[in-house]
Amino acid sequence: MIWTTALQLAVRALWRNKVRALLTALGVIIGVGSVITMLAVGAGAQERIARQLENLGSNNLMLRSGSSLRGGVRTGAGSNTSLTRADAEAIRALPGVLAVSPTVRTGAQALYRGSNWGTIVEGVTPDYLKTRSWGLESGEFFSERQVAAAVDVCVLGRTVVRELFGLVDPVGEIVILKGLACRVIGVLSEKGAGNWGNDQDDIILAPLTTVQRKFMGISHVDRIEVQAAGKAAAASAYKEIQRLLRARHRLQEGQANDFRIYNRAELASSAEESASVFAWLLGSIASVSLLVGGIGIMNIMLVSVTERTREIGIRMALGARRRDILWQFLLEALVLSGIGGLVGVALGIAAALLLGSFSEFEIRIVPWSVALAFSFAAMIGVFFGLHPARKASSLQPIEALRYE
């Protein structure tokens, strides 16, 4: 039999039972559509996490002054003053360490002419930009020498610029911070919202020493961020730093660390892992609906074969070979799943885009997921269509003709 004729025959047979064909195809449409949508949601989540981790710097280690036993009272992280700038310099000398950024933070009201804005002042060193993967929009950053000299300069985040200056270029202007006149020498590029929805651009950076001595009157640091050369370097630095700091802080064997150290590379890989588990979970739940759609096809095709046994007999009496009958039913199943697959792809993409624009979900339509869902649908057509088609083609002509 000629291919085009066989295809026509299949389409015509389906057309005769429009509603039934539509309902059967709907199973596949929903299956394919939900696979694409769910994988888009999963991939979106993965991408979002990957981007956030990149922002954090995934090869970074973070140190905070940590709880230690003081006369039996354990104080919270950061309440202790064990970390110093000297610790940071010692860490910088370790192999595999690219950048070390000690920081302190305090709240401050910033004044510029008539306006004022409550923000955070962070005391940092030039390495800060490297460890945070941040850059400047205009002006310049303070140098090591300016840090050493505790110069009264500052670099503003975008939000502070917007709130205090509006459209005025802040570089070269003077901002009053806690009664101290600081010259603005640069503006940070826009960073956007942080992982917890905080505004990362609502910040003023000043030399570490300036903030320590002139604003806070302290000599310790709150945190030290360490950037390692890679994941492996981060892992070995994690151990080295603990050994180094324990020695520097003269901690005895059996005494707890007076600092806390976090490996962001580890956090990163566990976050990435949970994101991909999430993506696969969504994908596999959706595949179940695709499977159910396939079973729907088989069910309808089996009913169809039984219902059309006489037709099969007539066709055989008129010269249809077994393979003609096999192809007739297989093609019907394939057309159902193929059309269902195509409509499902369109609907799945549309649903994903809709979800992306109307909800918090980040959506990323992955081309391979579209190809996967469609070919899965076609395979389901073959797989679930083959059994009924075989059943039809194995009938004896006379038995099929006599079938009531």
């Binding site: 025959l9 006489r310 055989m316 009496a317 393979r323 003609d324 002509p397 006379i398």
Partner: protein, 227 residues
């Protein structure tokens, strides 16, 4: 095919059905030869095995024992594809209940054997139309079976049986569901096809006046032919 080769030759054909452990001997040793151009009528009581014989002649069923040569070809040796090809090209079959495809136009019904013969669409349409016109159904091409009378339906079935130009026409009580006037019309068509086109016809009927049209009458009784 040499002039002496009969269209049909049956020798010692038996057919036994096993139904719930009970054996029914539908055919008990049939010997039959039909030459090209013959018009044979088979009569007999209900249950005597006429339809069973016809199904074997039409390659819709196979003999339990015995042999069948169609145009000199031993049917026993043929596989299912070859049998399909024979049903398609060498035999036209007309059933008592027409066996037309429902919700399918007359043209599409008639064109169906040509689909399996691998004829292209335009040629199929042309030949199906011509055949229907020959049966006097030129005005009913697009009608579905449910929109046709019994006689018209049987003529569509006849057009379908003849569209591939077979040498042998088998008809199992073709007028069984028709009134006597329509029966006479259909029968006149058979006679014409036999006389004008030289078509070999084997026909089953219950009515003696119909059988009288045939060149040869055979009687079946309890699975045996009485000449």
């Amino acid at each position: 095919m040499s002039a002496t080769t009969p269209v049909i030759r049956l020798s010692g054909v038996h057919k036994t059905y096993a139904q719930d452990g009970v054996e029914v001997h539908a055919l008990r040793g049939i010997d039959l030869t039909v030459a090209a151009g013959e018009f044979v009528a088979i009569m007999g009581a209900s249950g005597s095995g006429k339809s069973t014989l016809m199904h074997i002649l039409g390659c819709l069923d196979v003999p339990g024992q015995g042999d069948y040569w169609l145009n000199g070809q031993a049917v026993r040796r043929l596989d299912s594809d070859a049998l399909a090809a024979i049903r398609n090209r060498e035999i036209g079959f007309v059933f008592q209940n027409f066996n037309l495809l429902a919700r399918t136009s007359a043209v599409d019904n008639v064109e169906m054997p040509l689909v399996y013969a691998g004829v292209d669409k335009a040629e199929r349409q042309r030949r199906a139309r011509a055949e229907l016109e020959r049966m006097g159904l030129g005005e009913r091409l697009a009608h579905h079976p449910s929109q046709l009378s019994g006689g018209q339906q049987q003529r569509v079935a006849l057009a379908r049986a003849l569209v591939t130009r077979p040498a042998l026409l088998l008809a199992d009580e073709p007028t069984g569901n028709l009134d006597s006037a329509t029966s006479r019309e259909i029968l006149a068509l058979f006679a014409e096809l036999n006389q004008r086109d030289g078509l070999t016809i084997v026909l089953i009927t219950h009515e003696p006046d119909i059988a009288a049209h045939a060149g040869r009458q055979l009687h079946m009784h309890d699975g045996r032919l009485e000449h």
